[in-house]
Subunit: 337 residues, 2 copies
């Protein structure tokens, strides 16, 4: 067999974990579960949508007639701003820690029928400014501010109205803590930022690049686990969302729109994904080893209805992928805009 | 708010990672995607099933008329027994490692209409013996032998014929490596096995117990991430599947059947899950810090059609659950057999 097609493992530089890559397997037929595609035309305003302007939410509150973005406290927050006072751990094998935080919903647009991919760059830019403001405000109080979007029913999103969330907590969660450690280690060894070196390398190599401008670049990372996973990287030094200038927010909106249009074009559907931002935590450290970035994790594998299942071997051992990151990048680059 | 209901984080002793637990949120309504339930009656033999005895597989091979279990090489293996000779890494940010291995399918029964839950303990015992034989054989050649089962369409399983898989590889994958480190650390500090101490503690505490006999116990672990996740633990010292005696295999079959019947009863359906075994790797170490165990990861949250989505916050930060492990254990204990 062609050496290029042999199974191998690639190391995630941000987490230190490995992913099993099996390129020769990309051709196996799919006999399993298929997802439904919802192709209804959505109205600009849906009277039954609890996120549309002017409508009433489950808790009886009316949304304002907002015009840009609109942020409110999650009606069913996973984190609360309540102090349980004493620490909860009671046995060294039953370790528990208190946590305080807050959860908010961010409506991206008053228009029920849009998605980030379909919005104008100027309107995407307003979303980015909202992310920045939320991060700045919540970063005053909490160590970790997680901005994210679940898009599509397949990603657990219960309402197609364009929206994301921000969850803030007073501890640094597991995955960002791993990224913190790896970036710190790299900075110690190379006196430079891991992801700044990485983006330069990928721009030079080209084979995993999706799109770029002077400020930003999007790649399918060498260690991607999801078939069409991407990493959105700044080409300049920036540790946190709060440092984003208006210029850089504008160029970010342009690159994000191109990525999301390529995603939608890949399987001719409203492309589902979870995306989220990682930046230096607000734990008092300057975060000079940190480079701001966004992850996009789309579940789809070979069409709008066939997803990759991260089950069995993946849940017990380590993530596995068939199509290589290089092939995935090819496919995304080929999409006609 | 009741202190018991406040959000908190629990630490997974096997991986060192945290899970965010939000008990107060267990009551939120679900407006999102619902799964289909497939409730067809299945025939004992399905002429179109590529796993039934006597039928032809995709690659033209005919299955024998097997009567107990039946093992064959996966027709689309993720791992191959081919040596790419030279090492593949080429840049310190693009780290790659060769990997060799093998992937097999294990049919649990000739009967197309059964599941492990519905099989007699004696027949489940035959499956356990097959797991043991496969682990022994592949452990001669490979460092890691991963026995697992994906059950149900929602878990990416494309054929309801009762079957599992075994993937073996010449490196220890990410998750078992974490468990190795944590168990080693515990053994160093306590001169005892982490999971042996843990099972004793849980039997004493009772609140997370599902079922047990003299040899085995099943608990919803204190740090469970999936709503109805369970951990099957031996109450005696055993590092690997290969050390299993006939007696212990028999008592294991009994406890497994009870767990799986409780699962099926919980939402009155063929309960989907991924399950798999972890034991000491075959890397030359005696593995005295290791205790054999099985993980069961079911995706369902509140009914046969509503699953837990591990998306957004979970993919970017850390796993989150609503229902507590204690409540989940209550629910499973209450199921009438
Ligand atoms: O080999 P199968 O059963 O076709 O495939 C299934 O299990 C594998 C191992 O857990 C996963 O990698 C696949 O994504 C899943 O669809
Ligand atoms: O808060 P939502 O959107 O209702 O819920 C969704 O996103 C959350 C955060 O990623 C997840 O914990 C839930 O499982 C998912 O259904």
């Amino acid at each position: 067999m062609d050496k290029e097609l042999l199974p191998h493992r690639r190391r995630n530089q941000l987490t230190g974990e490995w992913v099993l890559c099996s390129p020769h397997r990309a051709t196996r037929p799919w006999l399993g579960q298929q997802e439904e595609v919802h192709k209804e035309e959505r109205p600009e305003h849906d009277p039954s949508c609890y996120l549309c302007p002017g409508n009433r939410r489950a808790n009886g509150v009316d949304n304002p007639s907002y015009e840009g973005t609109y942020v409110f406290e999650n009606d069913f927050p996973a984190l609360l701003n309540e102090d349980p006072s004493d620490d909860a751990s009671e046995h060294h094998l039953l370790r528990c820690a208190n946590v305080q935080g807050t959860c908010r919903v961010i409506c991206f647009s008053p228009r029920h029928d849009l998605t980030l991919a379909k919005m104008e760059p100027a309107d995407i830019c307003r979303v980015i400014q909202t992310w920045k403001e939320q991060t700045a405000e919540l970063g005053q109080k909490y160590k970790w501010v997680q901005v994210f979007e679940n898009k599509g029913a397949i990603m657990g999103c219960s309402n197609p109205h364009p929206h994301g969330q921000v969850w803030a907590m007073d501890a640094i969660p597991t995955l960002p803590l791993q990224e913190d450690a790896r970036q710190r280690e790299y900075f110690g060894n190379h006196h430079d930022r891991l992801l700044l070196n990485y983006v330069e390398l990928e721009i030079e190599r080209k084979e995993r690049m999706i799109c770029q401008n002077d400020d930003w670049a999007v790649v399918v990372p060498y260690w991607a686990t999801w078939p069409f996973e991407t990493l959105l990287l700044p080409r300049f030094k920036i540790s946190r969302m709060t440092e984003l200038t208006t210029n850089k927010a504008e160029s970010l909106a342009v690159v994000m729109k191109e990525l999301l249009q390529r995603y939608d074009g890949l399987f001719s559907c409203d492309f589902p994904y979870s995306m989220g931002w990682h930046g230096a935590p607000f734990n008092g450290s300057a975060g000079e080893h940190w480079q701001l970035h966004a992850h996009f994790y789309p579940p789809l594998l070979r069409s709008a209805t066939v997803k990759k299942f991260m089950v069995g071997f993946e849940m017990m051992a380590e993530p596995q992928r068939d199509i290589t990151p290089e092939t995935a990048a090819d496919r995304l680059r080929e999409v006609k805009l």
